[in-house]
């Protein structure tokens, strides 16, 4: 993939080492650390690793937000993708390292395994990425429902995130269903929503109160 900035730790003229941010073809700006080769090796020093891990988490959340993705498959294919593979310096993150990072995200509440509990003896296969916490999604949805005067009417999940002209402009347009469910759980607990089992092709519905 063509990147717009050369990541060479340059040493032109005056001896000066620097690493630069990279801009992806889709316009996402990778931090300079992404061009620092050892960023892709899990550091053995515990403190350095804590810092490195935190930087990866920030990057994963920013990248997911920018591309509006909500899910991370924990596979080798993911590690070969742009986010975890900097082709211009030929470095990629190992799946085992990615798993360690995601584990920290789950512990911090910025991700959740999907399914939440992997089968016995199995490693988690994917994670939902909360670049907004479910509580934040819940507030966004509920505020919009109130402003649009849609309380007390029943909407299907599809209508809420995909359908109609109304929803197109919202931030939760095309929100993934597992995250929508987590957000609605928050509203249900607060007594602000009820979910109905759907019939046939309509899928589940929700009523906001």
């Amino acid at each position: 993939m063509a990147m717009t900035t050369a990541p060479t730790p340059s040493s032109a003229g005056q001896h000066k080492l620097s690493v630069q941010p990279l801009i992806s073809p889709r316009g996402f700006t990778f931090p300079s650390l992404y061009s620092f080769p050892p960023f892709f090796t899990q550091q053995p020093n515990e403190q350095t690793w804590a810092h490195q891990r935190a930087q990866w988490i920030t990057l994963i959340l920013a990248y997911s937000r920018f591309h509006k993705t909500y899910r991370l498959e924990l596979t080798d294919e993911t590690c070969a993708g742009e986010l975890f593979h900097n082709k211009s310096i030929n470095r990629r993150l190992h799946l085992a390292t990615l798993r360690n990072i995601v584990e920290a995200m789950v512990a911090a509440g910025s991700a959740e395994y999907d399914p939440p509990k992997p089968a016995k003896g199995q490693l988690p296969t994917a994670a939902l990425v909360f670049w907004r916490k479910p509580e934040e999604w819940a507030n966004l949805i509920y505020d919009w429902i109130k402003e649009s005067g849609l309380t007390n009417s029943i909407m299907t999940f599809y209508e809420l995130t995909e359908g109609g002209d109304l929803v197109h402009t919202t931030e939760f347009y095309q929100l993934s269903e597992p995250i929508l469910r987590r957000a609605l759980d928050v509203l249900i607990k607060a007594g602000k929503a009820q979910v109905f089992k759907g019939l046939g092709e309509d899928g589940d519905g929700v009523k906001f109160v």
Binding site: H15, S18, T29, F36, P37
Partner: protein
Amino acid sequence: MARRGVGYSSLQRHLDSANSYSTLSTSLAEQQTAALSQQLATFQASLASFSTHHRAKILSSPSFRSHFSQLCAELGVDPLGGGAKGIWDKMGVGDWYYALGVQIVDVCLRARERGGGMVALDEVIQQVTILRRGGPNAGLNGKSSTSGGKAIKPPPSAEISPSDVARAIDALAPLHCGYKIITVGGKQVVRCYPGGLDRDSLIVVEAAGEQGTGRGAVSMHEVHAFTRREGGEGWTMERVERAVEKAMMDDGMMWVDEQAGGGREYFVPALFEFVEGQ
């Protein structure tokens, strides 16, 4: 006429003259003191008027600042000396340096997680500049000092020079936080590490930053070669390994890259400037 008086009257005469001498010297000293304090008052007044006329320029232009501090040095005046009573404080420039000092500490603490106790001077200047422009987390510690009279807000364009950083770090010395600018492999690095660095660790870092050829990274073999550069035996491989291990595991100054073509390489973040887009 007797050349030398003998007896009581002579003794009396002697005492009289001694008395008048001491009176004279006292009055002379008084005059000198008066003259001196007058000169000092004039000097202070000139400095004060200088400061009102040029303060903005001193605060915003690094070259002007450095000329001014040279001037002070020639006069034998330490601009920041004497703690809160320094001349630069009278001019409102002392605050400027203390604020810069706080920002440097802020930046170094944040960079410490990444590079152990060392940060490239370029990187410090870059980060402080971002901080002063109201960059990320500026609200936290980035405020310019507001203590004592007028708050000093440098204009957004204010540049920071390496000698400003050096002077601000000198101003921090009484706090004993171990900040110091050192030269490693031809690069200036701010050391913010209480307690000294192990000499072997420092040599490993030198090897990574070796002038002209340094990539900011080394392999064990390169460290070994570096220790033999002036002929002689150099270190044993055991010593090389121990030094690298210590620099990485104890000091947190190195990152290992296991995907380098020719075997493991050890990177020193303190030798790099991490440029971030704004």
